[in-house]
Assembly symmetry: C2
């Protein structure tokens, strides 16, 4: 992918969130009638109730697209991020972390109104994560925050499906797509969450078909988009809608669809999955890194899988090692150029 | 693939054959108890009997590996060929055609003994081809014909499974592999034919595992190698035996296996299949051309499919147009660099 007059490899646009991580027993969710393995949106009060019952292990910067650009930065890419925090302690922590990762983040914080968004991530003993999200300030991302110069300066604009949860941020997505096309930049989008897809199926189908070049999703999100349980059916449908679709399949690896080509890549073998939070975000990071390096789509998927394997080997969705070296090592093991 | 001290992109080693093409009705084969859709070896007398009963449409140069290097030359690659003809009219025609295609061919012809090999290709109305082969002079390819300097000068040494039918040519294959490894050249091999695989299964498994980097086969040949009817099972077995396996699947396209990556590529759509002779040979040509151009494996498979689509749109297994332009046009249509 040849950079012309661009400064950033990838601009991420998403909900700026702090992740509150807590381990809970299998019973915690069922006792409170909380759904497992997906993201549930909460108001401030309900979020406060869960928060009161847990023993937070860590409070770390999160947010799906923010995790992806953090992964990209760790791989060596130049990134920017657009997302809304409040100027509170969580907002300042988010800004500090994303700055420390070397990512440009210029979005004005809220000075009043809702607090910085947070996602309570409950990790059960099977390493499954269940997320309970209070969007807070993130809901107030709007078209005014979509800086035309940053879009113009970015090779790829990566946006998360979670932004579709609120009208203001939805319009921000459409504005970003419009500007990306104006400057002939690539748009990438993740479906983010199965229930999100179920809520906005028609909207998302239209968005993906008309606006998106590179789609990320997991198997169940993609199947939800087409109301099927047959992945092959979904793959045959998505192939004419986007240039590239990269679909993650947990322990079965991933599959990339590019027109008449379908590339199945086995998963990285890892000994102990500690916390699957961020696996999809980091897969996208690795995949996009491969793209900006002009690697083959199979290698993009491998790099995605390698980056994801790092993130699920520990708590939290931001890399704990330099992903650049981590990926290089693995690629060399597979006999690929690093 | 970076060429160091090489002259040729691909050296083909195979049976040097003339193809005698004839259209026959569906009944022709069953009346004579001849098997359909595969290659049957004949002695000179039996071949003569069939020859007497048909009305040959064309007599053209053929031979599996020879067709592949002819395809490669038409794509713009530098090629050489090693194979045995008699210095008779058929042998001279073979030499003239391969020379006209710009391929170096230095193998000494037989001056006495069996005539140049011929393959009677009977094409039924369903475009299926049934081959009846008299190997003749081709059987006498021997280790003495494997020129160390040509192996040393070639990036890829491509050999056909048909060579396993005779002891002398089998030893020539092993010698070529030995020299290829000595000079760190890539070895490529096609399984050629299902019945050939059934006859020499154990031998071919050993050869492929120990000597071959890039394997070509169609689905039924690969399944025969592993005595299964489950392609996924075969693909999982071949992945640890060779670096790359490229498996053709007729109208369902092809699949490439490279370690943990499996790439499924749909077939080229063509309106009218006239004669499937040479489809596998030309797929290999396109695929190897992609490899020497350092294209991604998905693109290699696409180029293979495009080259095959040209050959099955007319009688005979040598290209009738410049494949270079033909492939460029199609790749541009798919939005790929040409």
């Amino acid at each position: 992918m040849s950079g012309t007059d661009t400064v950033y490899d990838v601009l991420g646009i998403g909900n700026a969130m702090m992740d509150v991580l807590a381990k809970v027993g299998e019973g915690f969710l069922s006792e409170r009638n909380l759904s497992k393995g997906r993201m549930t949106l909460l108001d401030a009060q309900s979020a406060g109730k869960i928060y009161a019952d847990i023993d937070p292990e860590r409070e770390v910067s999160g947010g799906s697209a923010a995790n992806t650009v953090a992964g990209l930065a760790s791989l060596g890419a130049d990134c920017a991020f657009i997302g809304k925090v409040h100027d509170d302690a969580f907002g300042q922590a988010f800004r500090r972390d994303i700055g420390a990762a070397g990512i440009d983040f210029f979005t004005e914080p809220l000075l009043e109104g809702p607090a910085t968004g947070r996602s309570i991530v409950l990790v059960t003993p099977d390493a499954e994560r269940s997320m309970f999200t209070y969007l807070g300030a993130a809901e107030h991302l709007s078209v005014k925050d979509i800086d035309e110069n940053i879009i113009k300066s970015s090779k790829i604009i990566y946006m998360e499906g979670y932004l579709w949860e609120h009208l203001e941020s939805r319009e921000a997505v459409l504005k970003a797509c419009e500007l990306a096309h104006k400057y002939k930049r690539k748009t990438a989008f993740t479906l983010s969450d199965k229930s999100c897809v179920e809520r906005y199926r028609a909207d998302l189908l239209k968005l993906v078909t008309e606006q998106i070049d590179v789609l990320f999703a997991n198997e169940s999100e993609l199947n939800a988009l087409f109301e099927t349980t047959d992945l092959m059916d979904s793959l045959d449908k998505i192939k004419s809608m986007v240039e590239i679709a990269a679909i993650t399949r947990d322990a079965r690896g991933s599959v990339v669809v590019n027109g008449r080509v379908k590339i199945f890549v086995e998963a990285e073998k890892i000994e102990n999955v500690v916390d699957s939070t961020g696996a999809g975000d980091l897969y996208a990071a690795g995949f996009l890194y491969g793209m900006i390096q002009d690697r083959s789509l199979g290698t993009c998927a491998m790099i995605g899988g390698i980056a994801a394997s790092e993130i699920i080997s520990h708590y939290g969705a931001r890399p704990e090692v330099s992903l650049r070296g981590f990926v290089r090592n693995k690629l060399l093991k597979y006999g690929k150029k690093a």
